[in-house]
């Protein structure tokens, strides 16, 4: 079969036309966002809460037309609270799915394994994990934290005890996990630098059923406040129960788990939860007069209209999840989905208005959460997943 000149020209024109059309089709392709939550397993309560916010935000962004007409496609890999599975998920997201950006993991143990891996694949990453070493603009230039660091968490608790409650004699206790011991080692020097006298310092096996010896030791040392650092609800509830049994009226100030439903369920009397002040975040807390900020109130209304369950989780988890894809979408709306461009944009982000808090980064600081928003709250004031600010904070 011979080809006529017309056939050659028409097929050539078709080929050229198809090449020209390609960018237009690509522009309609979804933007792939990798997502590594722990939705199952022992540390999944955080991930389940964050997931509700993420899903709502992605639905809203896509319903509003996406990013320049491109929908966000969330590619989720459940880490099952397991660092090994988190690493496998991260490798698949970057090498197999070739996502533009990764959000997560949401637990520090998993992030410790994933952050160096993503740094090697030059994939922009946003995570909400607190361990200080999980951001480093030199080692991990594409990794950003949209949550506080452990230093900020401990700093807020220390400020509250020393500057607001005006207590100088402090007992610092943790369990024997890596998190617990690292927290005590980090926070005790910070307390001393603030002029506090750490009269008791100890790491105790969380399985120890009787913590009375430890609290008696704190009491005899003259402690005016107890600062526990543990995520183990059993351990924390034993401290609270023992304080109650001893009729010892000192405040307990520390880890967010002090205010969790699991801790509450293990208290011998509801009254024992009084004068217990866990960490939390000002934008998602009730002010002393019982009000939320306008931004948070509007968010709460959106959650209610979307019928998102709040009774079994915490508002700050949902808010953090909600803010994360919005911040990524904001970057991509301005500079596109190219990795270098997204990182360049985030490096100069100033006060991105989140429900959880306003996020800012610089090329030298990839920890975006503002110090002053980390606060302490009254554990027994939980309502709709949010707490009331602890006494001493202004509205």
């Amino acid at each position: 079969m011979s080809l006529t000149r017309r056939q050659v020209l028409s097929s050539g024109a078709a080929a050229i036309a198809s090449t020209i059309a390609k960018p237009a089709i690509a522009a309609k392709e979804p933007i792939l966002v990798g997502y590594l939550p722990a939705l199952t397993g022992p540390s999944s309560s955080t991930g389940v809460g964050i997931n509700r916010g993420i899903q709502l935000a992605v639905q809203e962004i896509n319903a509003a037309g996406g990013i320049d007409g491109r929908q966000i496609e969330l590619i989720t890999r459940d880490t099952q609270s397991d660092p090994t599975k988190a690493v496998n998920g991260a490798a698949e997201l970057t090498r197999g799915q070739k996502v533009s950006v990764v959000f997560g993991p949401v637990n520090s143990g998993e992030s410790l394994a994933v952050v160096p891996l993503l740094a090697r694949t030059n994939t922009p990453q946003v995570h909400p994990c607190w361990v200080d070493t999980l951001t480093d603009p030199k080692k991990y230039p594409m990794c950003f934290r949209n949550a506080p660091t452990n230093q900020q968490i401990g700093g807020a608790a220390n400020r509250y005890v020393v500057e607001v409650l005006k207590h100088k004699k402090v007992a610092v206790i943790s369990d024997t996990t890596g998190y617990g011991t690292a927290s005590v080692n980090a926070y005790v020097p910070m307390l001393k630098a603030k002029g506090a006298d750490v009269v008791y310092q100890g790491n105790v096996d969380a399985a120890n059923p009787d913590l009375k010896p430890e609290l008696l030791r704190m009491q005899s040392a003259g402690a005016e406040a107890i600062m526990p650092w543990s995520v183990n609800a059993g351990f924390l509830s034993r401290i609270i129960n023992t304080r109650g049994q001893m009729n010892w009226d000192v405040p307990i100030v520390g880890q967010t788990t002090l205010g969790s439903g699991q801790t509450k369920a293990l208290l011998e009397k509801p009254d024992y939860w009084a004068k217990v002040y866990p960490n939390n975040f000002r934008p998602v807390c009730y002010s002393p007069d019982g009000k939320l900020t306008d931004r948070t109130s509007a968010f709460l209304d959106r959650l209610k209209s979307a019928k998102i369950e709040m009774g079994d989780t915490l508002l700050w988890w949902i808010a953090l999840g909600y803010d994360s894809p919005r911040m990524i979408a904001e970057a991509m709306k301005n500079v596109g989905s190219d990795a270098e461009q997204v990182v360049g944009y985030l490096n100069n982000l100033k006060e991105f208005p989140g429900v959880y808090g306003d996020m800012s980064f610089t090329p030298d600081r990839h920890d975006g959460y503002p110090d002053e928003e980390v606060v302490m709250v009254e554990a027994n004031s939980l309502n709709n997943g949010a707490f009331k600010l602890a006494p001493g904070y202004s509205a």
């Binding site: 100890g202 009787d210 008696l216 183990n232």
Partner: protein
């Protein structure tokens, strides 16, 4: 302070002693150290909380159901982890098989029950006093088990049969004793005792899947100190362990208390490898 050491130390000692007796009852019937002993304790606490706190059953119903759950698990241990390895006891395969079963039960509990400690109900609605029910319940359970086992072993036919297979398995079989059925009954009995330990200690230990390795570990110490298969030795050593542990908690505190416990444990075993109460094994040549 002394009162607190004695109360919580004795209560914990009783729980350790009951777990040690659980080890011994299984050991006597099979010559196997089943590392499911602590798991049986954990299950007693979890089932107690499940039946009474979560399902709202009265204590007099929830309590026997929890013990029945322990008995069932004891029988499962015998069938799944012990019977298949009895022919090669000298290879100590039971260490692997019982540990594997214990881990499976522990992980299943973590997934289906909770990875967080759950509240254990107060069994008697009475005001809290220094000598609270959380302390006297394990003591009562321990005393009950000691008396019950003494009566069983000394005054019942089935008790004599248990002693016979513990003493000489082959001779007992030669006399026509149903060795397999007796072994299964022993494991069921061990399951009841283990579950009782976790149930009676539930108010102290809470209903928590991670109690299993803790009880397996600390429950084995009185077995080693008291002499293997020796229930009286296990009870004495269990009580001593509880009291020493609480004293160490008061005196040195924190992680050093565990270090103190295991330092003394190692020193005692170096000095008396047969245990504090046991006698050196004589082997016929």
């Amino acid at each position: 302070m002394v009162t607190s050491i004695i109360l919580s130390g004795t209560a914990m000692g009783c729980i350790y002693a009951l777990i040690a007796v659980t080890y011994n009852v299984m050991f006597s019937a099979s010559r196997v150290f089943s590392f499911t002993a602590g798991t049986l304790g954990m299950i007693g606490g979890v089932l107690g909380s499940l039946f009474i706190a979560r399902m709202g059953l009265p204590v007099f119903v929830g309590f026997p159901l929890a013990l029945a759950g322990g008995a069932l698990l004891g029988i499962v241990t015998e069938i799944v982890a012990v019977r298949p390895v009895l022919k090669s006891l000298d290879q100590h395969l039971y260490v692997l098989s019982t540990l594997a079963l214990a881990l499976m039960i522990q992980q299943f509990t973590a997934i289906e029950w909770s990875t967080e400690p759950q509240p254990f109900p107060r069994l008697f609605d009475i005001a809290r006093v220094d000598f609270d029910q959380q302390y006297w319940l394990p003591m009562l359970a321990c005393a009950g088990v000691i008396v019950g086992l003494e009566l069983l072993y000394r005054h019942t036919l089935i008790g004599h049969a248990f002693l016979a297979i513990a003493e000489d398995n082959y001779a007992a079989r030669a006399l026509g004793l149903p060795e397999r059925r007796l072994r299964m009954t022993s494991f069921a009995l061990a399951g009841v005792i283990g579950a009782l330990a976790g149930f009676a200690g539930g108010e102290m230990l809470l209903a928590f899947f991670a109690n299993a390795p803790m009880l397996t570990f600390y429950g084995f110490v009185p077995v080693a100190l008291g002499g293997m298969g020796n229930n009286r030795g296990a009870v004495v050593a269990g009580l001593l362990l509880g009291l020493f542990q609480q004293t160490a908690n008061f005196l040195v505190g924190g992680i050093f208390a565990s270090v103190a416990v295991f330092t003394v444990f190692i020193i005692v075993l170096l000095a008396r490898p047969e245990g504090l109460v046991g006698s050196a094994l004589q082997r016929r040549v």
